[in-house]
Structures are given as C-alpha cells and as structure tokens.
Symmetry: D2
Subunit: 336 residues, 4 copies
C-alpha cells in the first residue's frame, strides 16, 4: 500500500485526484494539507466525499509528511509548490507536482513568465515532463515528475505527431483553445462567477498565457527545431473540458487520410489516446483520462483537433498515470 499525501487539497484538481485514488487498489490517502482551511474534515470542504474519505486537513509539516506518506501529489500554486516539495524530495519521498514549478527547464523563462525567481533551479533543468505519450521511459525512473498543464496537454498531443514526422512548419502555429471554467480554480473571483461565465464565451490572456512557453518547449523537443505558437485560450460556459483547434502549415503537400494514418500509428500503443475519424467533442472524454484527436486538411492548412477533460487527462488523471508509471503499476490502474 503506497501512502499518499496531497498538498493543497481544497481545489478542483485535488478533489478529482482523491476520487481517482479512492478507486486505486494499491494506495491509501493518509494526509491532506491546506493553507486556508483549519483542521476541518475533508467532507466539509468536499461534500462529494461524504462517507468515502475520513480525513481532516492539516497544516503542511514536512517531517510529519515524511513519516505519514510515501508519495506526494502537490496541488499547490506555483511558487508555493516547489518550496513545499523541496524538503519532501530531500526526505526521499516521490512527488508528482501538478503546479507549473518544474515544467520549464530554463530558470530565466520561468522567471519571465511567472514573475518569480525559481527556488530550485538545479532540479528544474532535469525534471521529467509528465506526458507519458512522449516521456514514458523517463517518467518510470523519476522521483519527481512535473505534471503537464491542461492546455499544453491538449496542444502537444494534437501537434507532436505532425512535428515529429516533419509534416508541418514549426513556426506560425495557431493554437486556439476552448476551456471549461474549472480550469480557473476554486478561489472566488468575479470572472468565474456563474452569472459572468454562463451564456458567454470570450478569449482571455491573448498572447500572454503562461502555458505558451510550456507548449513551445515540449513541441521543440518533439520537432527537433524551435517551435513557436500563437496561443489563444477561451473561457467556455462549461465546467470541464478543453478543445484545442490547432492550425499549421504543411511542409509538403499531404492528404488528410495519410495524416490520420500517421497519427494512428504514432499513438497505436497508447492506452488513453484515440485518433478518431469524426470531429470529437469534449463530452466524449469528460470524466475520463482519454484524449480524442482528429486531423483535417483545409485549403493550405492542417487542422488538428484534440479533446480532453482538463481536470483528468489535463491534471489529476495524468498525475495518477504518472504515479502508476513511477511505481510500476499497470498504467491505467484506477483510470479505466
């Protein structure tokens, strides 16, 4: 039985994580931390867990966590996450970090986009990016995994095969993404009130969203040359889901069926990626760890489209997939 601690367990990703882990036959959740809540019972914050998990929140005490747990999932915000994780790694725990802290490998890029000096630059450069579809081997050997952002997961999976096979130009790629509101977190803000989001769609953070360098870094690895993207996220009136519509330019003329074939080949052995012929909808993957992807050729552009559940494949499902790889469990355990 692996004993699990969850840091920052009050938000939506943590709730999702707990529900997945409660189905996992090889783990036990033994600690939940929160900065805001006192020692309240987890069901006071998450009534959904009534009768399913009998734990109280506690403050974050590294020594105690090192005693109580074997593996940590951090749902803390960036900055707070690496600060809390460092002593736990030093104490020998394994960690899946759902924050952005260890995703970028260049401290300067981190400082530029997140406005913070990174506290742990040495680990930063060498941390594994937790996207099994690209880095399964490394994940299975890692003690610390940087769990990908939700938008990057959807964008990278839609574009990596096209870049790896040199099908598309690495520059000028347009990533138009539409996300549900849960991606904005559970802290009360005007912008995420029901009456502000319902019956409305809008772009936000155009040209400035922090997931941009993450998408570019990983796609650059996939392409073998510098990739740049124009990334436009949109807030969509639904709780869950991300649809990414990515527009790229073919290097040589190619037809749609060939691209679909190549994509199917690329993801053939992946347990959670389905290349589909139809145009996928986010509802097809809501509540699951699956990704549905398709591709279209329109005039002189290639359009690749992917769907994920932002809280599962875009966060907590991916985290458990990584955990399973790190511990040698069947990769899809608790995710079926």
């Amino acid at each position: 039985m692996i004993r699990i601690g969850i840091l920052g367990a009050t938000g939506y990703t943590a709730l999702e994580l707990m529900q997945i882990l409660l189905r996992h036959p090889e783990v036990e959740i033994t600690a939940l931390t929160s900065r805001q809540e006192g020692e309240v019972h987890v069901t006071d914050v998450h009534p959904r867990l009534a009768g399913r998990l009998d734990l109280r929140f506690e403050g974050l005490d590294s020594d105690k966590l090192a005693d109580q747990t074997d593996c940590i999932f951090s749902c803390l915000p960036h900055g707070a996450s690496s600060q809390s994780i460092m002593p736990l790694l030093d104490a020998g725990l394994k960690v899946v970090d759902l924050s952005a802290d260890y995703r970028l490998n260049d401290p300067q890029t981190y400082a530029d986009w997140y406005g913070l000096e990174h506290r742990d630059p040495k680990r930063l450069a060498s941390t594994v990016y937790g996207l099994p579809e690209l880095f399964r081997e490394q994940i299975s050997k890692a003690s610390l995994v940087a769990n990908p952002g939700c938008y990057p997961t959807s964008a990278i999976l839609a574009l990596a095969p096209l870049l790896k096979t040199q099908r598309i130009e690495p520059t000028g790629i347009i990533v138009d993404s539409k996300s549900g509101v849960s991606g904005a977190g559970r802290s009360p803000k005007l912008a995420t009130l029901y009456a502000e989001c319902n019956e409305s769609i809008a772009a936000y953070a155009v040209g400035t969203h922090r997931h941009t360098p993450e998408i570019e870094q990983i796609l650059t690895v996939a392409a073998g040359s510098t990739v740049d993207v124009i990334f436009t996220p949109h807030l969509t009136p639904m709780t869950r889901g991300i649809l990414t519509t990515a527009y790229s330019t073919p290097i040589d003329k190619v037809d749609q069926e060939t691209l679909l074939e190549e994509m199917r080949a690329f993801y053939r052995d992946e347990p959670f990626v389905q290349v589909v012929d139809h145009l996928p909808a986010t509802k097809d993957v809501a509540g699951t760890n699956f990704v549905h992807i398709t591709v279209r050729c329109v005039k002189d552009k290639i359009i690749s489209i992917s769907c994920i559940d932002n809280l599962i494949k875009g966060a907590s499902g991916a985290a458990v997939q990584n955990f399973n790889l790190m511990y040698g469990f069947e990769e899809s355990t608790a995710l079926g």
Copy 2:
C-alpha cells in the same frame, strides 16, 4: 426629463436598471454611485454599456445627488440603503428602494430577520410596497416605494388571487421556488462560482430565508387573515428566472377551470401578468417584465405556478414600473 441617480450601481440589478432606463424617453441617468469602485467609468465595470452610457461612478454625496437628480433608485444592500436614502428623501427626492429596508412594516420583524435595528422606523410603517398588481393606487401617490423582493413577487402573484377570493386555507402553504444564480448578486463567493452552480441544483436557507416574512406580510394583507408559508428556495443552474410552485389546500371543493377563470379575472387589466393554460417556463419571461401564471388541481391540493425574470419583474423592471406610476407615465414605458 427626470434626472435619475442609481445608488450601488455595480451589481446585476443596477445593470439591468440602466439598460431599461436607457430605453425610457422621459429620463436621463445623471449619477451612479459605488462604494467599492473608485471614479472608474461605468463601462469598465459593465462592458455591456460600451458606447451607451458615458458616466463615471462617484462616491455617495447626498447634497450633490440632491442637486444632480430628481429620483433615486437604490440598489444598495439592506441597512446601507435606508441610511443613504433618508437624507435624500428629506431633500425632497423621490426614491425607489430595491433593498429590503422598507418592505416589512414592523421594525421588530425587520430586526429579527435582518439582524439590524431599523434606522427609520417611522417611514417603515407607512412605506408603500411596490407591487402594482396589489397597490397601484398607493404607489402612484408615493415618494418612497419599497420595491418587492424577487421571490416574494413570484409567490405573492401566484397566491394572492386564491387568498383574496377565499379559495385556499391561509396556513400551511408550501412555496417551493427555483431561482437563477444572478439573484445571489455579483460579489465573488464560492457558492456562486460557475463550477459550483453549473450542473447542480440544491435547496438553501430552508426555513430561514429573509423573504419569508415579506411573503407572509403581503399575503396576509391580501387574505385579510394571518397567512403562513413554508418557503424553500433552490439555486438553479441558470442566470435568470424564478419559478415558484406553490401548494395550498382548498377551503371548499373547486375545479381547475374555475380557478383559472377567477385568476384571469383578477389580472384582467394588468399589463404584465398573463394567466396561461399551459405550464409556463422561465424562458418565456426571461428578459421581460412579464409574469406567467397557471393553476392546477391535483388530488386535494391546488398548485399555482408562476414565472418571472428575477432581475426584471423581480427587481429592476418592477422598479421602473413603480417609477412610471409615481410620475404618471404610461405604466409600461420602457418595459415593452
């Protein structure tokens, strides 16, 4: 041209009010106050008004308002509203108060339910309740009108005809209401986040909602004997609308068609109440000042059902209807 000031102009009812008043040929909005916002432009808070209203928020200065305006709509919270209104009434302005401050006529009941000593008990006892369907005469002569609450509007209009005609027992009436989320206001709160409200319905404030004594007071006037209700509000995943399903017990046997006839007669000359044969939906009145009502007999109970838009007939539309009566304009001006 009547010059209008709006107090507490940052919320949803104020935004709705401004949009209605912009269609009113006899008024000009000349002042907007806000406690939180500085002197920002109204479109920074309400982008919907871009190009339609060129005003900045200001602090609440009674002397200045008395100079700038003829009539005040107060969208302030209870407590703050009466405090701000008192000097304006003394200065000779007319006022429509959208808060709860002047709705109850007993200061003790006010203190019990709102947890505040009322500052203006003398006016409290004599203020007109702004429901034209019951108090049109008095409204047209008033300087201060207490605009009804959203739930009370829907409940009173569904039940008053049955009580006035002695068709139903005045006690044990069940008022099961379902409201959109905009009724909870525009202040960021966990409970009204999109991801908390979407895809979910729940009862709240069971047995303790402050609209209970308001419903009972006005229905008691209508019935001529003490009415008590069990009032259960529900938060429903939609921005606007209230549906009230009211269950009462007939005094004597009566059939549905008779009740529908009597209701039609009761509301015959009302510009905004439609008694319908079908079961009405809130979408039928969304964005309008209309009320749709029907009635059913099931076993030994009478079920009366009403629909309103909580922000219009339940707040700002009713406020303008009252304003029109107070100033002798055609009652439906700007509300068509």
Copy 3:
C-alpha cells in the same frame, strides 16, 4: 465471466451502463441490440466508447441472445421491454429491466397509467422491485428485477424511513422533484432541444406523471398503510441529477435532530446512501451511485431532501447494484 447483453443500447442509460460494466471485473459485454440503428459499430452511436468496446449493434433475436449471453439489461421502452424479455426469461437468462414494465404489481394500474394491457401479468405481480435499500434480500434471489424509476428512487429513499417509523402522515405528501434533461431520453424532441431547455426551468406532467403510482406503491409497502403523494416533476437546465424536496406532516411533534438520527440509523449499513447534515446538491452525487439525503423541520412540516444522479443511482448504477446482488458479487463492484 458473466456474459452481458444490453437491449435498446442507443440511449443515455445504456451508455452509462456500458461504462460501468467496462469497469466490472466479472463481466463481459457480448451483445447490444437496437431497433433503429442497423449493424453499426457502437462507437458510431456512442463516440465516447472509442477504443473501449468493440461491438456492433444487432437486431433483437431471442435465440441468439440466449446463446450469447447469461444476463440481460433491458433499456427498451415500456411495452417493448416486457415483450422482448419474456422469451429470454423463459430461456433461463437473468434480467434487469430498466423499463417500467415490471415495477407496478397491479395490471390494472399499469393499464391505467401506461395505456397498455400488460403482456405478462403473472410475473408482474411477483417481480422484485430493485431498490436494495428496501428489498435487498429478495433481489439477491431473483431472476428478474424491475429496476426503479429515477424519480421514485429519489422520492422513496427520502420518505421511506419517515413512513416506516410512523413519523409522518401517509397522505397529502408533496414530492417536488427537479430533474436534469437526460431523463427525457435521447430521441430528438422539441421540448428537449438545447435552446428550449437552457436558461429555463418548468414543471411538467403535473398530476399526471407515470412515476406517481410507482412512488405510492412502494411507499405504501414501507408505511404499511396507503400512501398518496402529489408529485410535481420539473425540467431543470442540467444534463444529470434529480433533487427531490418532499414535504410531509409529522404525526407527533418531533425535532430535526431526532429525525436525522433515525435516518442515519435506517441507512447505517447502506453502501450508497449518505445522510448528511448540510443541504445536499446534485453535483455532490453526479457521476456516482450515491444518494445524499437530509431532513429539516420547518413550522409544522417535515422537509426531506434527496439527491441522485438520475442516470446512475436512478438507472444504470442501480441496475448494476442489483446485478451484483443477483450474482453474489460485492454489492459495490464497479460502482466505487
């Protein structure tokens, strides 16, 4: 491995059922029938199942089904369901019927409410009603289980404890229920179009809904005397979930804490019923087989409130719970 056939596998309950059964370690889905679709692949109808279930729809052939399967879940409409089930029962298969066909035990009541002569009146009178919380013993021995309706599940679980303990009058009970739209099925109808349901709530089938006699029959068993209810369903703008707010009259004076205690005692050993102190929301049980229930005393009424996911505890989750009992598997298998 129990081989499973699903009749009428194109709708929402069938899709939900397949997803639950795919997590069940002791079953294999071996046949799917459909009347409308030809021999299309299941993922053409349910893209959500892409890569997860490789079956084609087939026409309903009893002999073939008797060969291919051990147990049948029928998601057919009433009338069609009993007609199709009869030969399968005769062939020795076990059946969970999700239609209304075997829920009522009186053929005349069935004829009155469903407008059909029942084809199988003998079995009708003796079929077990598949609500484990009341009939676990009988279910575990049954070959045919009538899976409860969604509204009845929510209403019965909220009221049965109060009736069994003689706390409330068996007559004049008001059941005000709010359901998501998936309950209306997947056949295209004007009334369930997105633009008709979104941003709107309405009552429907007031006094005439077919779940009324089902609620009354089972509550009458629980109470030991004739129960009658006034049942008002409402269509609510969400895909899933039922909230039932039930109003009843106490026989003797009783306080809320006592009622909560008694309810907790009643459901103490139930794996899926949680009696909670707070007011539950449908989102707390969405996607799960759980029921959250609470109770309040307001003036002279008792209000009991329950939440379920209409497609899971209100249909397919309950069906698998029944299946587990019928086959002696752990009751919560695949439902955790």
Copy 4:
C-alpha cells in the same frame, strides 16, 4: 404604419424578429406563415408572446400576403425562401430575406455550396447584401435585401477594416468561430438536444460550412482582391452568441494601438459597432444588436475578435436595421 408579414414564423429568428417589431412604433405585424403548423395561434408555438401578439399562422398565399402586407421578412430555409419571395417581389412588396438565397452573387457558387439550382439568378446577381456597415447606401434604396448570415456578420466586421486599409494579407486568413446552439434552428435533431450540447464544445463542418463563400465574397469586395479564409465553426454550450477569433498576417509591421485606432475610425459613425480595448465576451452583446470588436498583435499575427448575438445582429436585429434603412426610419428604431 407598415404592415409586416413574416414567412416561416415558427423558428428562433422569427420569434426574435416579432419581439423586436413589437417595440417598433411604425409597424404592425399582420401575417405569419408556417408550413408545418396548421392555423394555430402564435402563442401556442411561442408562449413567450402570450398577450402580446394576437395572430394565427396561415399557409403561404402570395395574393393574400400582397393584400395584407407591405413588407415581408422571410425566415424560410434557403430554396423555399426565394421560391416564396419571387411572386411577392413581383407584386411590389419589399422583402428582407433572412435565408441564404440572395447572398451569393454567383449562381454557380450557390449551386456548388447549397446543392440547388438557383430559381432567380437574375436578381441574385444584383441583390444588396444587408450589412449596413459596408452597404448602407445601397440598402436604403433596395426593395430586396439579403440579410447576412450570422457567422459572416461576425467575421466580416472583424476583418473588413483590416483588409480595406491593406493591413493584412488577403489569403490564409483563419476564422475560428464559436456559436451558441440557437444558430442550428428549432427542428428537433439529435445533435442539438440539450444532453448532447451541454457541457461540451466541438468543431463541426470543418472546411465545408456554407458560410465560407459568403465570407469570402464580401471580404473580397472590401479588400479589392480575392480573399480566402479557412473557416472553422464550433458548437458552444450556450443558447446565443458568436465569438469569432480571426488570425491574419500583417503586410507591413504595425502595432496594436494603430490598428485599434484605425478600427475605431472605420466604425466611428456606426450605431451598433463598438471597438473596445478589452477582450469582449458574447454576454456583453447578448440580447442586443451591438457588435463588440477588438484587435491584438501577437508575434507575427494579427488577431481580431468580434462578438455578436447570433439571433439579433446575426439575424433579426440586422433585418430590422435593414428595414429601417429601406423605409427611411431612424436606423436604430426598436433596436436600442
């Protein structure tokens, strides 16, 4: 008083149109036709109009319409619309056609995209495209106006200023649009059921949507050279609204502030177009005839973003705006 007839008055655009015309002081609705409904009362189809419009549907009889009406709004589908309009134009009526029948000026393009031989090719070539922002002069003199499609309105208004001022390349423009579900009409279809659309977003008709040639034709006029676009519509879980995010390539280096200035200048005198600095949301224009537009420079791309209400500025509001111009009324009459 202009007497108005509405053809095909059962759908969402017709309902919206009636509500707008009911506020218009210079018109009277005198005839409503429908092919499916018999002579039912309009409120049986549109309960929202209860007490507001007392008319029955009738079959489409050209002679009768020529007697009863002065001006026709056709909400019929393409094909049916031109067929019905032709005799009415011959009889001297003025017509606003909300279908696609007279939008394209080349009969072959019409045949290619709509799969129909055009019945009225002569008028096709000369019909005015009813976008006042580009063709006000011509509209004011026209007897027949082709009301623009909803997507084209949003795309053209976002791109025309950039093309007219030669700021962007006319080819390779990406138009990524997100529409509410009401755009798909009111005929029951699986794809537009609540439970299919809610909590989901998906692209549809990628590379094949019929609004593509319409967007290209009008933008080509604006640009003075052939424009081609890659148009990707998305179905979004909301009833109303279109957000278009358009990606184009600048011809010469230019900064964002200059583009915003030029756009403000372009639309300076437009009553319904607001160029805003912030990123607009569809809720800001829902229920209005307004368009909110902004522009951003990101890396080597220009992103222009527009919002409309698809049923108003994208259909019936525009139709009344055109009507006002055709009859010499104040352009914003009934649209304020």
